[in-house]
């Protein structure tokens, strides 16, 4: 065989076009080798597999309750990297199998559900389950805490806004005030030019202009304002008449023994109660010193 091949090669070489394709082929082969280092030999001896399965397989007449095998009639067709959907598919498979098994168990009169008074050792110990519970609690607490923090942060942001507004408001007020003052200056320019026209330079008008709202007094007592009538003024401010004998005894007051309505001093010790009331006396010196040192 090799000899024959050789002779063929030689004859190919003699032809002008022959060497090229040979080279190309070898090149392609070497590239291929780089890409796939070694093709693995696939073995799938179906006949042998089936024969082996037949040798080991359980007796088909075996009751279902001996093996508890359930087949899920669907294949799992999800993206492997999509954790959530993958686990969901497994969950669905388990749920379907459990339901199928329950109905099968009912058919076979096979106890399925554990009665609530059946206690036995569990796979995970109570201590471990407690740890799991604690972790769940911790997790929910952490979520709550972070939520609160977030809210607080947002509140802070909002608070900042409020502060900004306040500052702006203050600045606006200042500007307004300056404008008002400027306006006043402009108004009073003539007055400043000939000051003898009205003599008091200190006028209320400045204060009025500065304050947010002009005072009522200024309006009431202004040059154009009306005076209240005499009687009303007397009532409001008091009659300016005799004052000096107001506290003197009169005939009536001398005869009057009633305690005064204002609850003045009254008659001392009239009932003994007054004495008790006045009992909040200044304590003695020693006591006062003691109280001081205590506090």
């Amino acid at each position: 065989m090799p000899a024959h091949n050789l002779s063929e090669d030689v004859s190919d070489d003699e032809a002008s076009f022959a060497p090229r394709p040979v080279d190309e082929i070898s090149d392609a082969e070497s590239v291929d080798e780089d890409a796939v280092p070694r093709q693995k030999i696939e073995i799938d001896n179906k006949i042998a597999l089936e024969r082996i399965r037949n040798t080991i397989r359980l007796d088909p007449s075996l009751s279902w309750t001996e093996t508890l095998v359930v087949s899920y009639p669907e294949t799992i067709d999800v993206d492997v990297d999509d954790d959530l959907n993958r686990e969901l598919a497994f969950y669905k498979q388990a749920l379907h199998s459990a339901q199928a098994a329950k109905s099968l168990a009912a058919k076979h009169n096979f106890p399925f559900t554990r009665p609530s008074d059946y206690f036995a050792e569990m796979v995970k110990s109570d201590a471990h389950m407690e740890r799991i519970r604690q972790r769940l609690l911790d997790e929910s607490a952490a979520i709550k805490r972070s939520e609160e923090k977030r809210k607080e942060r947002e509140g802070k942001k909002f608070g900042k806004q409020v502060q900004m507004e306040k500052l702006q408001e203050r600045q606006r007020g200042k500007k307004e005030m300056e404008e008002r003052l400027k306006g006043l200056k402009r108004k009073r320019k003539g007055a400043l030019d000939n000051p003898q026209e009205d003599d008091d330079g200190f006028d209320v008008e400045v204060e009025d202009a500065v304050s947010d709202r002009p005072t009522k007094r200024a309006r009431g007592a202004g040059p154009g304002g009306k005076k209240l009538p005499r009687q009303v003024r007397d009532k409001k401010f008091g009659f300016g008449g005799p004052r000096k004998r107001a506290k003197q005894n009169t005939k009536a007051s001398t005869d009057n023994f009633e305690p005064r309505a204002g609850g003045g001093k009254g008659v001392r010790g009239a009932k003994g109660k007054g004495g008790a009331k006045a009992g909040a006396k200044r304590p003695g010196k020693s006591r006062r010193m003691a109280a001081r040192s205590r506090s």
Binding site: K40, I43, D44, L62, L68, V69, T75, A105
Partner: protein, 302 residues
Amino acid sequence: MASVLKAQKINASKTDVKGKGKRKAEEIDEEDVQVPAPKKLKNKQRVLLLSSRGITHRMRHLMNDLEALLPHVKKDAKLDSKNHLHLLPELADLNNCNNTLYFESRRHEDLYLWAAKTPNGPSIKMHVQNVHTMDELKMTGNCLKGSRGILSFDKSFDESEWGRLTKEVFTHIFGVPQTARKAKPFIDHVLTFSVLDNKIWFRNFQIIEKDPLQPNGPPQMSMVEIGPRFVLTPIRIFEGAFGGATVYSNPEFVSPTAVRAALRGEKGEKYGKRKHAEQERSERKEGRRREEDELAVSKVFA
């Protein structure tokens, strides 16, 4: 060898005729009501569970979880040697086990699982990945220790020949027989096996039949995961127990060592390129250097 081939051929011709009918019968058996036979057949399985030396804590915990879940498991001491797997069938025989689960740890990081029927095979070698044990606090389910779990296989197991064989072997190993000494009489969890991305995904769910939020409402079944969880990549199926002819090999399987080596190689390549560039640069610099002349800085400002 020739006799084996002949036997296979005969079997094939048989199965061509009979295969379908048989499988149909099996399905009916699974789903239909069985009239209690006079002589009750029993499913007798015992599993030897052991590991090689050099397993990490996570692998050990996974083994402990399996032991807790499967009451028909007999745990044995670590196997000293990785090259004498033929000892395992004898060991299983000594322990009266007809199945073996053997965890093999390589380089303290890769875990392989052998699932074998012991005296006569077959044995399946798988690579274990993504191990989460029951100790993790994220899985909140719980179940009775030793209760018999339902085995749930998805449809893809029935679609390939290796899948059917794997299903059979797993049924023997993970299905708790009714007669197991420590088995409990009720069912409260499901072991699911699903094929996805040519890998077998294992999950364990607790069955909750009553909604805890409305205990008096209509019974609604829900699931809570108990753990452990892991993913098995089938590598090879051998005819015998821990040996024999390969009847199936997964062409897609790339050993984790190869993956790591490729990564390292990539890194090394980068380093080599950088070093090469450095050297070239220094050579170029050397080539461009000018000779000393009288106007050199060092001479002018001496």
